[in-house]
């Protein structure tokens, strides 16, 4: 992964967004391809769904650790796992 230069002042840029997106997949502690990184004026927002609260916490921990100066907001949910209450009929 290319190290990003000049993380400090200013809003998060496209390169930070790209690096975080790759980190989410390539960091073995995360290995998530289903998390979106959305750049807003003030912060980067992570959203998507994962299989456990532990994985959700780990994502935020790893990203914050790697990019301590980038304001990150997490809106990651844990996927529901109840039995289906309906079926789909396919004639």
């Amino acid at each position: 992964m290319t190290r990003h230069r000049g993380l400090g002042a200013g809003p998060p840029d496209e390169y930070v967004e790209a690096e975080i997106h790759r980190l989410l997949t390539e960091d073995p502690a995360v290995a998530e391809q289903g998390i979106s990184v959305v750049r807003t004026e003030r912060a980067l927002v992570l959203y998507g769904e994962v299989e456990s609260a532990q994985r959700r916490d780990e994502i935020l921990r790893r990203v914050s650790e790697r990019f301590p100066d980038v304001p990150i907001t997490s809106d990651i949910g844990v996927i529901r796992k109840q039995a289906p209450t309906e079926i789909e009929q396919l004639p």
Partner: protein, 258 residues
């Protein structure tokens, strides 16, 4: 007669989620004739994680048939992953198929992981650098194996199981730019070359549930983040009325939707 198919993909098992699906899975016998797993069963494709899958999805009382996904290839332990799953009685397909006897008839399932490449008019071509040709040929070979497997099965009802998507319809919700990494039209072409009744896939976490191949075969994206439940159940049969409300009451599965 009706064949009842339960399916889910992208469960990404590891120690931290073992037991999570089990309560819902315990309700499955009596409500489904088979469970199909549409790849990405593990996080990194290790044997240890595959043993978690085996614990979670083994010994269910219904046959379990799976294909692997890209995550299941990450640590280059595919033989060990397949071995651990097979030890638990899970059938793992890759370019082959299986026919299962069910009360509703003989269900044939043909499976491949599949690969990317994109969709008609916006796809990669077998041209140029060796890396690009290898990419496209991987897809083509996978689709060819799927077609061969579909045609090899003698059954009453034929289902195609892949990890990558055969159509763009079920990718709706994903960024358009990544469609070529989520599936390929060659898989759809293979599905349309046989009398396939249903195609199931995963991989596209932000995609949508329903689609149709150009040949009219129904496609369902059963990635866990898409279906938002432990598994989906499909009833397939000639006499079914799409508007009919199912009489199934066990396990909280009470009504149909369409």
């Amino acid at each position: 007669m009706v064949i009842r198919i339960a399916a889910v993909g992208d469960v990404h098992l590891d120690e931290d989620v073992v037991g999570r699906f089990r309560p819902a899975l315990e309700e499955m016998p009596g409500n489904a004739d088979v469970l199909l797993l549409a790849g990405d069963l593990t996080r990194h494709g290790t044997e240890v994680e595959a043993r978690c899958v085996a614990r979670e999805f083994g010994g269910l009382g219904v046959p379990v048939v799976a294909v692997l996904g890209n995550h299941d290839h990450q640590c280059d332990q595919v033989p060990q992953v397949v071995g651990a799953l097979e030890e638990a009685g899970i059938v793992v397909l890759e370019g082959n198929g299986v026919v299962l006897d069910s009360p509703g008839g003989r269900l044939g399932v043909a499976g491949v992981k599949g690969f990317g490449g994109g969709f008609a008019g916006r796809c990669a071509s077998d041209f140029g650098e060796p890396e690009m040709k290898a990419f496209v040929r991987t897809t083509t070979e996978s689709a060819d194996r799927l077609a061969e497997a579909l045609h090899s099965l003698d059954c009453d009802l034929l289902v195609a199981l892949t990890h990558y998507s055969p159509v763009p319809d079920t990718l709706a919700g994903e960024p358009l730019e990544i469609y070529p990494f989520l599936g390929s039209y060659q898989l759809g072409q293979a599905i349309d070359s046989a009398p396939t009744a249903l195609a199931l896939h995963g991989h596209a976490h932000h995609g949508s549930e329903r689609g149709t191949t150009p040949g009219g075969v129904r496609v369902r994206n059963v990635a866990h983040p898409v279906i938002k439940q432990a598994y989906s159940i499909f009833h397939l049969g000639d006499h079914l009325d799409q508007a009919q409300v199912s009489g199934i009451g066990a396990g909280g599965i009470q009504q149909s939707w369409s």
